[in-house]
Each structure stands twice: as C-alpha cells, then as structure tokens.
Symmetry: C2
Amino acid sequence: MKLATLKDGSRDGQLAVVSRDLASAHFAAGIAGTMQQLLDDWNFLSPQLEDLYTTLNHGKARHAFPFEPRQCMAPLPRAFQWVDASAYLPHVERVRRARGAEPPATLRDDPLMYQGGSDALLGPCDDAVFASADDGIDYEGELAVVTGDVPMGCAPEAALESVRLLLLANDWTLRERVPAELAKGFGFVQAKPATAFAPVAVTPDELGAEWQGGRARLTLLVQRNGRPVARLATGPEMHFDFGTLLAHLARTRRLGAGSIVGGGTVSNADAAAGCACLAEQRALELLADGAARTPWMGEGETVRLEALAGDGHSVFGAIEQRVALAAR
Amino acid sequence: MKLATLKDGSRDGQLAVVSRDLASAHFAAGIAGTMQQLLDDWNFLSPQLEDLYTTLNHGKARHAFPFEPRQCMAPLPRAFQWVDASAYLPHVERVRRARGAEPPATLRDDPLMYQGGSDALLGPCDDAVFASADDGIDYEGELAVVTGDVPMGCAPEAALESVRLLLLANDWTLRERVPAELAKGFGFVQAKPATAFAPVAVTPDELGAEWQGGRARLTLLVQRNGRPVARLATGPEMHFDFGTLLAHLARTRRLGAGSIVGGGTVSNADAAAGCACLAEQRALELLADGAARTPWMGEGETVRLEALAGDGHSVFGAIEQRVALAAR
C-alpha cells in the first residue's frame, strides 16, 4: 500500500491512498483523517485502506483524482519521534578520515544514532529555507522506517515486525555547525534543521523480495541542479539493518507508534557510485587531491532524490527541493 | 490558567482546566479536546478556557469534579519536540569535575542542549519502568516551557513571547549509559528514557512577579523515599534564561507549537540546598570524601518533586513516582 499526506491548510494534512504507479490518489477520509491516526490504530484501519488501495489500483475508486507530489506534505508532517542512524560505514569512515579523526572503535558493533527534531518536517517539494549560506548547507539521501508501538527491550527480529512504512528522506545538515556540536557531545540542535520526505510512504510488502533482513534493496538516484551525481545501492552495504537499529533505540525505553527511524546517508564503498551527500564527496576529494572542490549548496540550487525498485519504477516518488535563504 | 490532561484510555488524553488551588477540575471538551489542539490554535481557544478557569475558581462551574493527580497523564502525553538544556552551571561543573573532566570552555556563552525523545512521556504518578537496575537510575528535577510557533532566527525577547505554559519535569537519566553516549558525540539515545511531568501546566501569568526575565523564581522540593533531600531556588542561578535557550534552539530552524524546552537540572552553588539529581549529590561526595556513597535508585524506591511559589502553594502539583523494573 502507498500513502501520502496532502496539504489542506492544517498542520497534519489529509491522509490519502496513492496508486502503485503514483498516477492517482483517493482521500482516506471516512477511514482515517491523518497519518498519525492510522498509525495509532494500524491493525484496525490499515485493512480498510488496503481495500481502498486495491480498488484504486483497479481504476475503480469513485472519487480518485490525479496524484500531484507538489501538493504533498511529508507523510508525517510532524512526528512524535525522528531518530537517525549512520548505518552505512563508508559514509562515517570517509567523513571522519577527511577530518583527520579515526572512526569510533565501536563503529561495527554499536550503532551511531541521534535524536532529531520532528516538530516541523518538510514536504517533498517544499523549499528548504536556511538561516545562512555560510553554514555549509548539505543534503543527505536516506531511507527510513515508521514504526508501530515497540516495547522496551525488544529484540531485532520482533522490532522489525513493528515496521509499518518505509520512507525516503532528505536529512538536511549544516556541516559548518557539526564540529562544534559534536565536541559538546550532546548531539545536534543547530546542525540539523528540518528533514524532508518523499511524497509517498509504502508498506514493506510493496517491495516484495527487495525488502529482506531489515534492508531495502533499492537504487538511490541523486541529482544536483538536474545533473546526476550518484547512483547507490541501498541494501548490501547497510551494516546495521533496521531491526538492529530499532532494538538499539528501544534498549531502555518503549517507542510510540509513528516513530521515524532513519538508516543514515546511503553510501557505497565503490566511489564510482557517487555520494548521497556533499560532505562525503568533499571528503573523497580531500583524501584524493588534498582539497575539497565541490561547494556546499547555495541559494536557488536544487537537489532531487528518488529510489527505484529493480524493475525501474519509482517507489516513493521524488524529493525535489530548492535551497532558499530566510529573509533578514 | 492551570491545565491538565486526564487519562481516558486514549494516547493523548482529555484536556481539563484545573482550579488555582488544585482542588477541582473541569473538562475542556467543547473548546479543545487535547492539549496539542489547544497549542495549535492558542490565540483562539485559550481565551475561552480562561473564562472557564475564572468560573471554576469562583466555584461556579457546573460540571466541576475533584482534581485527582493520579488520573493525570503528562500535560502533553506525547509531544512533537522535547529539548533539554543544562542552564544551571553548578550542575555541569560538579558532574564534570567528579569525572575528572573540565567543564567545556564555552560553558557560559553557548548553551548545552540535547534533543530528547518525546513519543511517550510519563504522567506524574506513573511508575518509571526501567530495563535494568545496573544502568544507574537517576531522577532530575527541572522546569520546562511549552512554546507556540517560534520562527527561525527569533531573538530571545521575542522567543519568550512564544512561551505558552510552564511545566515541572522529572528527566530520568541512566547515568551508567551517559559516558559512552557522550563519547560518541551524537547525544543521548539510551541514556535518557521517558521523562515525567507534574500534573498541571500553568500559563506564565499564574506566577505573577515570580516569572521574570525568562526565569521562574520558585522553590523546588525533592524527596527520596519520603525524606527531603533538596530545597532549591529555581530562579537566580539559571544562567541562560528560557528566551536565550529558545533562541539558541531556533537559530537554524523554526519550532512548532507544542515544543517542550527544559532548563535542565536545577542546581544551586550552595551545597546545603541539596541536589535535584543523584549524580550531582554523588559528585559532591566524591569531591569531598573521595567516594560517592549515595546509591542510584533501586526497584520500589520513590521520588517526589514539587515546586512552591513564594506564598508556599504548589504551582504544578507533585511528581510522585516509583521505580519499577521491566519483567524479563
């Protein structure tokens, strides 16, 4: 099943079911008004939406309308939890080595995860508005899951059973603000402004065999200003699967329905695949040539992120954002 | 105005107005069903609740009922944001010195703040359930504010205008998990389980002159197992006021209505005032005697936190929690 949240002037938007080919949509009104309502009562409501999804895919839904990603908010326009990991080790290793720092000794055993802000998430085509171009504006292409309730101390396998939806995210990062916040040890407050999400959230069964072992085997495409810069495999090099990440997070506390947990910037050891963020691209340049030549994002520049299934279809629709600077 | 959220079996509970003396309450139904609904549309809804509050205080509310803190959830049972600071410097200095670490060089100019989990907050009398007694279970008594919408780049004075409510919090911390997460630099994921809140949220005007310059001048009382262990002034030694904390947080992103921002463990330089958390008490013992003798909290132990106004009345009602261990 594919779901989206459409803009209606409210803070939480209006839940809609989207056809598998992303061509048409149908409001979920009468079943669930918002995505959080659905997540709060998933077992009761989702079968009703699955029925609507089937009808929509057969072209039989009576009030279907053309699906327009620009009308979308984030699938969860605000969430009660957004936690992001760094599950792709080449990303961590490259960025640390470029800073002259060793990767943490526990890199392969102990997931790096930070608690992010989730009070104001961005839709797929919303401008990304920043305070200053001097902050080192960077995108990060990544996959995330949305959970149901997860009990404290949940094992990885059981935690995976709680995964309700998969998302594609653009985890905007202000690189020049990262070192100072890392040094304080308290995580990121100013370095991680609002994260954006692709228009459509999908249930894991939509991926078929491409969802396996807590990893989604998709191809992430990244374009900057319309020019392709990366084509990355999301599955094989995800060191910690989503079950392991959820279990780490739930080690000492339960997670509420609607928690979003990200896998971190997708990264492949083969540098020819390109990079899903500029920090990593710059790190490769620095390590190879002694200087980073790729600039951070500036006002008016665009980024496009899309994940393809093996048959080439777009799973989540695309994130297409423009960088803007806040008026002073 | 005083507000509470009463348990009704739902995830977000039922909003109620509470009388100034905490003796009676009245459901806000018909005006706003939940606290978040109120915060989303504060300017329209709060005057209607103020009218109900006045009627209730005069004993004229037709469907008033006795107020029972044990029936309360957290005022926001789940929130879209919970960020906590360390605005009381004696706390930071003592805890770091006891670890043999210097306080950060920027301690007095750059607020320490971390993004916390807010998907499952605890009511004032809910058991605090932990995974293991070996994690160094500790309470932290602190004040917090709930905001309306705060624009990006907001100045401290303007940010203060966005403060809708004040709260009393118990920011449970697993001390034995802190050093490893601090070393990773990504903030706290496992070291900060669910935070608890006192039953009543109050609008700043309830404090009169005791709310001044973004600081609440109250007295925080702490009891462990029924024995008083601290009596702390919350106002004068709060180094960063709430306006400064909000501006720091909103430096690079806007904050959504219903964001909770904490001032961190209340602490006074005068050691005779006691400590609002065990880590600080143990630090004082270690620095004085070379060994910490106060144990962490164990199963079945209780903590009670309450904040008094100058005239001695309880502002928020009390947090009274028992430590429990999750079944294995």
